[in-house]
Amino acid sequence: MLELTLQALFSGLLAGGYYATVAVGLALVFGTMRVINLAHGELVLLAAYIAYAGESRYGLNPVLCIPFALVVVCASAAIVYALLARIEQDREMNSLILTFGLGVILTNLILMTWAADIHSTTNAWMLDSVVLADTLFAMRSEVVFFVAGLALMAAVHLWLSRSWQGRAVRALSSNRNAAKLMGVDPSRTEVLSFLVAGALSTFAGIAIYTGKTIYPALGHVMTVKAFIITVLAGMGSIPGVLIGAIMIGVIESFTVTYAAASLQELAGMVLFLVVLFVAPSGLFGGKKALPR
């Protein structure tokens, strides 16, 4: 029993790693543009399908597909941005409709191109199992992408806290009007946040393709999951997003282990509702009031 519990915990932790990379992309874009990109999960899925195409058609290692996927996904992210930037009125509401529509289009393009079948990597090295401490099992790709994901999150965290562009992103997220009066160019910063989100999506897509299975409807599932995680974390804190992602990963994995795999998505939603009731501003995002 203990072994099973530890295994569930371990699998959940590994899943949390790439959930976090999906969620940070969504949160970055939300921060700079105040837009929830409902096509975010489809960008992740696009990267996953590019890896699938590269592997199935040309026999490429999925990791080697990253550069090409990066270009396509970032270009797609830039197109989403360009369309969003054209919205002149009521951006919060209209952007939901726009990005939802773009998500549907992307899903169906993927469906048309690659059909509705379920795919996963055939790369033996990735699929090989690794054993930790004699009892914990994982696929090699899960471990590799978990470690790489952590490194990527650390890099984004450093970028946000140390670089000027990162500071511009934070300034814009913190207070849009004040940032503009400080001389921060909002469009440039927004594009940048979309491109970084594109890069994170690419990574997450390859991680999902090599560690899980992919199918056209997965994009939507990823968007919802990323949204839940960002709300759990309370927006705007990378360590918070990481913890939120791991929580979702662990809860899902416990549900699969002790209840049923079909209840997996439900468990995340229930957690989400509970947190909204108990701590409406998220677990780590308590906005402190300013003295007036």
Partner: protein
């Protein structure tokens, strides 16, 4: 250095500014007063680029401003502080200033940051969190500091003294005078407190219902019958 020529602003059917023509010279301090809703903050919004006039023109040091977005105006040398403090979250006081300097002035100059911190009496809080660890006066000072860090030639101060008690007002006003002299700034100051305005500003302009009804020395302006009427709402005998 700043020229507004027949600026007109409407929100739907409401005219917020009516034919406002106004100039501010290099190094000049202009007080802007008027009853609530007179259009003072709207005027600041027009100058800093938040609001676009329906007609009229606007130039800064000879450069037409209307097509420049807010962030470019900040880089051109128009600094602004808000009525309600808006510090960047999860940043120290110094980081707030550095970000403003990097993007607004285009280069980082730690010496100038230290000077601003000293002038605004924020040096002892420089490495504290800007949202949670400042008192009200310090929040106000930080607002001014962020605007100063962008290396402005013109500083727009929107009721930075509001909410302070009399002694605090007097002290902060002295600070503002010192800042102006040190950086050789032109300033436009929105303020309700007439003694404060009269001390700080050699020239005062009065807005009422979006119209400029007086412009001159504080003594002349505050004796003007129309100005008194706009404030008290009473007919002057």
């Amino acid at each position: 250095m700043l020229t507004l020529d027949r600026v007109q602003v409407s929100f739907g059917g409401v005219t917020a500014l009516r034919n406002v023509t106004l100039g501010v010279g290099e190094g000049e301090t202009l007080g802007l007063v008027g009853p609530n809703g007179a259009g003072k903050t709207t005027l600041f919004n027009v100058i800093s680029g938040v609001v676009h006039p329906v007609s009229g023109s606007l130039s800064f040091r000879g450069k037409p401003l209307l097509r420049e977005p807010e962030w470019k105006r900040a880089r051109l040398g128009i600094g602004r502080s808000f009525q309600i403090p808006r510090p960047l979250h999860h940043c120290t006081v110094r980081e707030n200033l550095i970000v403003a300097q990097r993007f607004g002035a285009g280069k980082v100059d730690p010496r100038r940051i230290d000077e601003i911190l000293d002038l605004l009496k924020l040096a002892h809080k420089a490495d504290r969190d800007a949202v949670t660890e400042l008192a009200l006066t310090e929040h106000k000072a930080l607002e001014v500091g962020k605007a100063l860090a962008t290396d402005p030639a013109l500083l727009l101060l929107d009721e930075v003294l509001a909410g302070l008690e009399t002694a605090g007002k007097r002290a902060f006003m002295q600070t503002l005078g010192a800042v102006r002299d040190r950086f050789n700034l032109a300033m436009i100051v929105i303020e309700h407190d007439i003694p404060t305005i009269s001390t700080l500003c050699p020239r005062v302009a009065v807005l009422n219902f979006g119209e400029l009804i007086a412009d001159g020395t504080p003594e002349a302006v505050f004796r003007d019958a129309e100005v008194i009427r706009s404030y008290t709402g009473e007919a002057v005998a």
